[in-house]
Symmetry: C2
Subunit: 139 residues, 2 copies
C-alpha cells in the first residue's frame, strides 16, 4: 500500500510494532497485565470498520484471527477479547486480548480498567520475540 | 439452520429479539442508556469467533455491519463500539453499540460500567419497531 499512514501518537506511545501484515500493523500493548495486541490498518482517515471496503474487511478479520492465534500460541489464554471502540483514539484500530481467569481486570473489560503497567525491558523483548515468531508462522 | 440452539439465560433476561438474520439472532439490550445490539449465532457450543467456519465468519461480520447501520439509521451515534468478550457469558455473542459523546459511560466502554437501566415499556417498543424496520431494509 502506498497510501499515507500516520499512527496516532497515543497508540505510538503505548505500543510496539510486531509485524506488518498485508492490511494492518500488529502492535503489542506494552502492558504486563495482559497479552494485548492492537491491529491498525495502514491508511489515514479510517474511523469505523465500515470505512473499509468489503474485501479489506475480510482481510482485517483474517488478520485479527491470526493475532488471536499468535496470542494463544505464546501465552495462557482462557478467553480472547475483541474490541473496536475508538471513543478516545479515533484512528481505526482493533484490540485482541488474551484474558486469563483472575487477571487484573477479570471478568471486566481491559478498556477503562486501571492503569497500564509497562513490562520490564527483558520481559517485553521476550514477549515480542515469541509473538513475532508466532505471527510469522503459516496458517 | 436446523442445529440446536439455546440462548444463554442471562442474555435472554437482558435482551429482546429483534430479528433473525441468516446466521445470528439480533437482540436489543434493554438499556435506556445506550442503543445496544447483541448478535448471537444460532448454534450451541460456540465460544470464540474462530469456532465459526470462514464463510460463517464472513456472514457474522456482514450481519454486524447491518446491525451498525440500523443503529445509525435510528438514533444519534458519534461512534460505533464493537466487542466480543464472553468473560461472563461464554456463549459466542457480539456487541454493537451506538455511543454518543457524553453518554453515561463516555468515553469508557459500556461493558462493566454501571447498571443496566431498563427502558420504559413505550420507549422500548418504539425503539424495537424502528430497529426492526431498519434491519429489514435492503442493503
Amino acid at each position: 500500500m502506498s497510501e499515507t499512514f500516520t499512527l496516532d501518537p497515543r497508540l505510538a506511545a503505548d505500543t510496539r510494532l510486531l509485524a506488518s501484515l498485508p492490511l494492518c500493523d500488529v502492535r503489542l500493548m506494552d502492558d504486563a497485565r495482559y497479552g494485548w495486541l492492537v491491529l491498525v490498518p495502514r491508511r489515514d482517515g479510517l474511523v469505523e470498520i465500515a470505512d473499509l471496503g468489503e474485501g479489506e474487511q475480510a482481510t482485517l478479520w483474517r488478520e485479527v484471527n491470526r493475532a488471536g492465534a499468535a496470542l494463544r500460541a505464546t501465552m495462557p489464554c482462557d478467553k480472547l477479547n475483541l474490541g473496536a471502540l475508538g471513543n478516545i483514539v479515533r484512528q481505526l484500530h482493533v484490540h485482541v486480548v488474551a484474558r486469563r481467569e483472575g487477571d487484573a481486570g477479570w471478568p471486566g473489560p481491559v478498556w477503562g480498567h486501571g492503569q497500564r503497567e509497562p513490562c520490564a525491558e527483558g520481559a517485553l523483548h521476550e514477549r515480542m520475540a515469541a509473538l513475532r515468531q508466532a505471527l510469522a508462522a503459516p496458517g
